[in-house]
Symmetry: none
Subunit: 246 residues, 2 copies
């Protein structure tokens, strides 16, 4: 499972950036949206795993948007609202929201619900979800989600450990974006692809990257896929779809 990508839909700029930042600090990829149009734009631009949808969107209505989205897509939705009255709550469920949370909310509660919904979605729609992930191609490599194995451009099968798989997914979910070691570590933990704590002390990530390189870089001494950004961290530096070097 790659890093979950969330849309944060709110018409209030301040709330939006606050939420986005908070989610990012907790290992998610959070993309701000301000209206229904931008939701559709984001969803056609890339994968979206969960939508945090404000009920009061200026003159738009979150519940209606939710209902419309649900008729088209299977993406999980959490409705966010200042109105916690029961009829509102029920209205949320009826249109197919996966959960409903009232503002102001406890940050931990929000995180817990986001994770719960993601997990449920991951489990139940394994079909739709897995299909997307089950095979993935990058730079001539093929990643088989099922058994944590990748196939090299020349057809050799390489099996990755869990942590290595997790790292690969983190990179693939963030093409061209330099990631610090800390970001990588928390992402690995959030997505549950490994069980270690983000101990900022050691050089675990360095070693991990090294191991991944030895497994899937043609020439590990001269890495082309996983590049080092000196003083920053690491980047995956090919176009994930086509494999073109950038």
């Amino acid at each position: 499972m790659a890093i979950p990508r969330l849309l944060v839909v709110d018409d209030d700029a301040e709330t939006r950036s606050m939420l986005t930042q908070f989610l990012r600090q907790n290992g998610f990829i959070a993309l701000p949206c301000q209206d229904e149009a931008s939701i559709h734009q984001q969803m056609s631009a890339g994968r979206v795993d969960l939508i945090l949808l404000d009920v009061m969107l200026g003159d738009e209505n979150g519940v209606e948007i939710c209902a419309r989205l649900r008729t088209e897509q299977e993406v999980p939705i959490i409705l966010v609202s200042a109105l916690s009255a029961d009829h509102q709550r029920m209205a949320g469920y009826e249109v197919g929201a996966d959960d409903y949370i009232a503002k102001p909310f406890n940050p931990d509660l929000l995180l817990a619900r986001v994770r719960a919904v993601l997990q449920r979605a991951h489990r139940s729609s394994s079909l739709a979800y897995r299909r997307r992930i089950s095979t993935l191609r990058f730079a001539g490599w093929t990643y088989l989600g099922k058994k944590d194995e990748v196939i090299s451009p020349d057809g050799v099968q390489v099996s990755l450990s869990r942590r290595e798989t997790g790292l690969l997914k983190v990179f693939l979910a963030n093409p061209h974006i330099p990631l610090t070691r800390e970001e990588i570590a928390t992402a690995l933990d959030v997505t549950g692809e490994g069980e270690a704590q983000p101990e900022a002390s050691g050089r675990a990530i360095d070693v991990l990257v090294g191991r991944l390189r030895t497994k899937i870089e043609a020439n590990p001494k001269e890495p082309r896929l996983f590049r080092t950004e000196r003083g920053v961290g690491y980047v995956i530096s090919v176009d994930v779809e086509t494999g073109e070097p950038e």
Copy 2:
């Protein structure tokens, strides 16, 4: 503890079969019923763990049925209705429904509630759960409750020990849910399928899982049914009814 058996009570044949199928796909045993008479019939024929009861049942009234059932039996009930008005909701709770869900509902939400109610019921009354199971099917295997024997997909009969049987039941009752060793141990003791204490010290569960694997995994070295969650415990990871790998 076995696979939960649910009654799906709805007068609309289409809804009934849709719901039944969905629940079966998610690891439950779902039995369709169309009226109060068939409820009683099913309940006298075998164990019933939960009733999903439609509020509008033609000329019968789900709420009244719920109230009647509650005076006789302890079986948990979830009321299902297209009417989400608050007073209806309350009417449901007052007659002792364990939960209330409005149509059309989110499938995941339904599953979550069903599991929650089952878990609550399981905790509070272990008695009702002690009854025996006759036959059970999972992933092509058939489990014969009587003699603690299972029959493999290719017809070979394998006999399980008591402890192994208990473990199998624990797994079957918790599809897709990772169980810690401690949870497994206490579950084994609660269900009386074994008499040992949950000594957290040893590695009894590991060995037990290993033994079950050698008996009913096609390839015990690469377990597909009983997967290890490193640092957590074990999960049964196939769709219990159909045997589809997840």
